[in-house]
Symmetry: C2
Subunit: 120 residues, 2 copies
Amino acid sequence: VNTLDASAVVHAYHEAWTSKDFDTAENMLADDLVVEVPINDYPTAKSFAAAVAGTASITTNVDLLAAMSAGDEAMLLYDMSIERLGTLRVAEHFTVNNGKIIRIRQVHDTAPVRAAGLGG
Amino acid sequence: VNTLDASAVVHAYHEAWTSKDFDTAENMLADDLVVEVPINDYPTAKSFAAAVAGTASITTNVDLLAAMSAGDEAMLLYDMSIERLGTLRVAEHFTVNNGKIIRIRQVHDTAPVRAAGLGG
């Protein structure tokens, strides 16, 4: 496995944050990371990494349903079990460059997130 | 291109419904299609195909952002421009068997869908 390829980078990132190794996860984000999420706003890699750590701290389980890649892009589909909220299905699309994640797009339903008081 | 592979089947399905060729789109769904969506309920391939046609009829544009596949699975990411609603980002995960789609999982925000009166 080329450790610079999208699949390897994204799997390592996912493994890091789901095992609460937030330093490793943050280290895989490019400084100029672009984040596209349906709720809240993360202008910097650091602010996004902090949000991931916060969400992970109330996440009891992550069930990876699908993972695939093409060129410098990869996608994941997983179900998260989050305290107060229940199960949230998340799709993520990543763009990777030089071994770092330069863009993350998340797709999920914001209705249960807002209902649980986790919206911005 | 093997016309039975996941990538080809899913691209053909996407091309069919976005160009409003609903007979072709429905013909690519297996009779025992399983649909996992965040809102509404589609117990049969026919009911899902009808919903796709209904949504497509008020969709003015679909911008495909990403497409990839692995084995019998494929994923798409796209932005839909929907009348009344605006832009909705959708991730889809497909499982294909024998040239037919046997499972569709859609991930999107239901908040703007509910706000536009398009929820069940």
